[in-house]
Symmetry: C2
Subunit: 659 residues, 2 copies
């Protein structure tokens, strides 16, 4: 129940108003003090949010600060992440729980605020749940991503049958990010009417005032055009805020509250000048606090000791789920009508991914799927057909798709998000942010590398392996790493790699291909993270490849064997990988390794070369895409164009084998 | 002059209409035939654009198909890149020039259309100017980027005093991409009223019909809310199209023409079914062409032999400019009031970048600068102050910033686009597309690595080096490569690296840092692409580092020397680099190299290890960020947190030196 519901008439409003002002002043002083002590931080943006945060965290949100893990809680996404000190102040005032263990929480006190931005503090410079601040669901601070995360949380709540609200606090300047409008479309498409976005329109960006395009009236007009319920308020007027929140969801549409706010509210010395991200100098600290007190007094602030949040509903806790085991490959193909390929022994890895996804969905209700208008290409369509309630069409908006996946993961789902590998690049910053959150998301890039051929480079991914691999040495503790890459060469391995991804806690990336490929593995072959497979043995050279191009490598090895040159051939289907078996084979075959990939550098070659360079004994040579590709009518033509065609491989292998 | 201007009254319109229908049918048949012959390609999306392309390329645009290099030409950005066959058909019909040499063009014929998507053809699967189709300014096909490129072209035209129009043809589903709305804001901010976007609203995405959020009325409402002049038309009605184009720019605002179109127009067998990206089967080819003829007949199509584009204005050609030489470092610092740092010998690399940018702007009028609301952090502000006409504030919208930079580059400018390195990740796909275009853009990421410290990981870049490095082995011919990275450790090298970037033709990436750093180099030191510098000599180990962390490495080396362990220390300020001097030093000091970086893997370590693994004699060990960072109050604390602190370096170096 809200304050306004507990009493009636004018008295209520005066009461609510005076206590809200008092709390805004109290928290504001904390914000000023904590940033001054930290020597950095965004006091002025936090002050702009004072009344909004008070209204949300003390009056509107149904949650228990002592149990932020409660799945029934209303959630707050601070999309304008740099304003976080005001949330820290409120949460400390409420004795909110921190830490990473729900069974062993610590309760924040106001004194903790003075540790802001310290290495040992849970109060990071921007919202960062993974470092022990579970009130948040997502790292924010790279702007414009919060609405998408909220959408993921709202989808999960619907699946779980939980009636909760997701509040997003965003900035005016932030609404320049296109992702905000991708999310606005998505939230309308999926009728997520329990989402309420509050735009804090303080009129200032970092470097300058915001553009007129981001004035409150412009944001209101845009949100209206996008189909949202729009309410404009004075962001420092508790009555207007309270009245606005009472209307949330009433119109059957998601709500945008466009709030005019004041950057540096209540502190004269912060106004007029650009105090973005700059704390009050220590010498001015008491003056600033006195100004806040005076502002409160002017507004009739009167403390109310009894401000407590509304309790959340009671719902069962999520239980820890065991490993997900898929049925046999043949069973899974039959399930989706692809069993004719069991005879032809030829199927695209993307199709096997689709079959695996359906089987995962059959097995575990946490599995959900998102796709960006290419589900008929990625084969996410199979899942959409079989589990329509857990499939979320994101249309052509990859940034929103990835952040929404992170929101779903925050609510305990295991989301698989697919598009062409090339278009996944659209969401690199969103993946970075999900990585900071340690979000359990699975990204699937189809049509990877250059084997798509005819469509040309705008549809091909060549830098994706280097990007995702960059995170594969980043330790998350407890044996986890920040990212696993899987790059299967055939349908059997694609099926099993998808299963592996579902069972790994954390970010995984799967590369699939458009063309059909012969089966390489028996139907019952097993795979593992960090694994690789030896497919041929030989005496003269060791070749490592992966994906569709591995078929060309095998063909080259076969032809070379006819010429008397025999090669070990390894399938590096996983990155990172344990290179020991590859090095063992290399030592027994001349000590030379050749890697072959149809992506740019930074992938398998780097993986093997970095490990080999520590031994100083094995020599490693890499073949990667040495040209920007163009259209060709066949994959073989484009492989050849970029320098990794059959004849290139044979020639290079021959040279190396004869050294 | 347009057709409608050459005659008067009803007769004109009938004439224009009948000839437009005839041309649309003629080109449509080419589209159907070329995609069927190619065995892939987007015939249906092309047919939807028939009348729009006829109106633009035969009637509205002022250009000479035989000279697409003419800087005065109106330009067409096909943002909906997959629809390109219709443009190829028109351009071939007009005998347009192709090839990469304006002095030696080849003129397209209709027979060339049957080479669509062949490896040797200039007719790539999606617009791809770099492969010899200079009618386009930018590779497209990853959707939603065209308006931003158009903005860059329009800004360049204004700087050059050229009155030309930039037309963008976009899709309805494509308008889901947030970047479209970033561009919409930017174009309004900069009053680029010579831009006209035509949305082809055919109602179909790839996987399904578009969302109601992308219906023509929704797009019109959104564009209106964003401040555009909106005209709704039937996209297959030549009269309505002609009338709409006559109004472009009249209202003093950019124009959005929202055109209802039919996917697969004129070919019954393509309608109703989802023919996205699927050509007509060979057996149906003649039937499809007959259907187009019948459609034309029904509409009164009558060929007009005299349809020719309007000629462009005559303006001087751009002249080839020589190398840009900057003044001395001291002179440049004085120019921007930073000369006090010449005595303290301490300045942030980001500040030196700003000084270099001003000096570049003083020296060469082609230098332009873009920034995303952080110019006071990146020091682009210095340029904005001194060369305001060539500075373009992009606000918080990095995707649009990078694509706009690509547009400026296409018009002969040398754009430097800056933001926090972390936020550059927002535009990876845009950088990919610019790379395909071979755009001459310079990207500057400030606050790179983790040395920003207190703000936490949402503001830190750790994967950027791996991403940009992935392109550094990609050969563009004539000695060029797809990307150069510069990562200076002090102000002197930052100044000179900025100069190097301006003189390299192609994509470059500069990493700068927030904290001040002591000068390491003398003011007159020279640097070069692929260079590195030896800063210390020693007998026991060779250490390679770069950027701000190099100062910690030097401190470690100094302390180690006091313990009797002497190290070679190299500054790897450039990637790629020639490792020969590093290897020479390593061979003379135990054959072991230690690399030290505050980013994830895939950077300097990969660079050195890959080269070393080919020799098989030098051992290389890497120290990189092994944890996801968090806030700390100092850079040293965060270096230590992620495993590259002073004591970590000393310990690892000691172990390696004593092996």
């Amino acid at each position: 129940m809200t304050q306004t519901e507990t009493c009636t008439g004018q008295e209520t409003l005066v009461f609510a108003t005076s206590s809200a002002h008092a709390k805004a002043v109290e928290l504001g002083k904390h914000v000023v003090r904590m940033t001054t002590i930290a020597g950095s931080g965004h006091a002025s943006s936090g002050l702009a949010l004072g009344h909004i945060i008070v209204e949300l965290m003390y009056r509107q949100m149904r949650y228990d600060p002592a149990d932020p893990w409660n799945p029934a809680s209303d959630r707050l996404i601070l999309s304008i992440g740099h304003a976080v000190p005001i949330v820290y102040a409120a949460y400390a005032d409420l004795g909110g729980a921190v830490g990473n263990d729900p069974n062993n929480p610590r309760f924040l006190t106001v004194d903790d605020l003075w540790t802001l931005r310290e290495l040992s503090s849970v109060l990071d410079g921007h919202p960062n749940p993974a470092e022990g601040f579970p009130f948040f669901d997502s790292a924010t601070g790279s702007l414009g991503q919060g609405m998408s995360v909220a959408a993921g949380l709202a989808l999960a709540a619907r699946l779980d049958g939980i009636d909760k609200r997701i509040y997003v606090v965003a900035g005016d300047g932030e609404s320049r990010e296109g992702q905000v409008w991708e999310a606005a479309d998505f939230i309308i498409d999926h009728e997520l009417t329990n989402i309420c976005v509050i735009y804090s329109c303080n009129g200032h960006g970092q470097a300058a005032p915001v553009s007129p395009q981001q004035y409150p009236e412009a944001i209101a007009a845009k949100a209206t055009a996008f189909g949202w319920e729009v309410i404009e308020v004075d962001g420092h007027d508790p009555q207007q805020l309270s009245a606005a929140f009472e209307k949330v969801g009433a119109g059957g549409r998601p709500t945008a509250i466009v709030a005019r706010t004041i950057k540096g509210w209540g502190v004269d010395l912060m106004r007029g000048k650009n105090f973005h991200g700059i704390p009050v100098p220590a010498g001015d600290l008491e003056k600033a606090c006195a100004e806040l007190d005076a502002t409160g007094e002017r507004l009739g602030a009167a403390p109310d000791g009894g401000m407590t949040p509304r309790p959340p509903a009671v719902v069962p806790r999520r239980r820890h789920a065991g490993p997900i085991n898929l049925p046999g490959f043949q069973t899974a193909l039959k399930r989706v009508g692809l069993d004719s390929t069991l005879k032809t022994k030829r199927l695209a890895t993307r199709a096997a991914y689709g079959a695996a996804l359906v089987a995962l969905g059959d097995t575990d209700p946490r599995i959900v799927c998102l796709d960006g208008d290419v589900r008929n290409s990625t084969f996410a369509e199979l899942f959409a057909n079989e589990h329509p309630d857990r499939f979320f069409e994101c249309k052509i908006a990859e940034q929103n798709m990835i952040s929404a996946a992170a929101g779903l993961a925050a609510a305990g789902k295991i989301p698989f998000a697919s598009s062409f590998a090339k278009f996944i690049a659209r969401a690199v910053d969103q993946i970075d942010m999900a990585s900071i959150t340690r979000a359990n998301i699975k990204i699937v890039g189809s049509h990877s590398g250059v084997s798509l051929a005819a469509d040309g480079p705008s549809q091909m991914s060549l830098a994706d392996v280097a990007y995702f691999r960059s995170m594969t040495r980043t330790d998350l503790g407890q044996g986890n790493i920040a990212c696993h890459i899987f790059h299967p060469c055939d349908a059997v391995s694609a099926y099993r790699c998808t299963e592996l991804m579902a069972n790994i806690e954390g970010l995984c990336y799967l590369r699939t291909h458009r063309p059909k490929a012969d089966f390489i593995y028996p139907f019952d072959e097993r795979f593992e993270p960090r694994g690789c497979k030896q497919l041929r043995t030989g005496k003269h050279l060791t070749i490592v490849s992966c994906g569709l191009l591995l078929h060309t490598v095998l063909e080259a090895a076969e032809k070379l064997s006819e010429e008397g040159i025999t090669c070990n051939v390894f399938d590096a289907y996983a990155l990172p990988l344990d290179p020991a078996p590859i090095f063992d084979a290399a030592r027994a075959s001349g000590g030379v390794i050749l890697t072959v990939e149809d992506n740019y550098i930074g992938g398998v070659h780097a993986e093997i070369a970095e490990a080999a360079a520590e031994t100083g004994k094995i020599r490693v040579y890499g073949m990667t895409a040495r040209r920007i590709p163009k259209s060709g009518r066949t994959a073989a033509e484009v492989f050849s164009h970029i320098g990794v065609g059959l004849t290139h491989i044979m020639k290079r292998a021959t040279t190396l084998a004869r050294r």
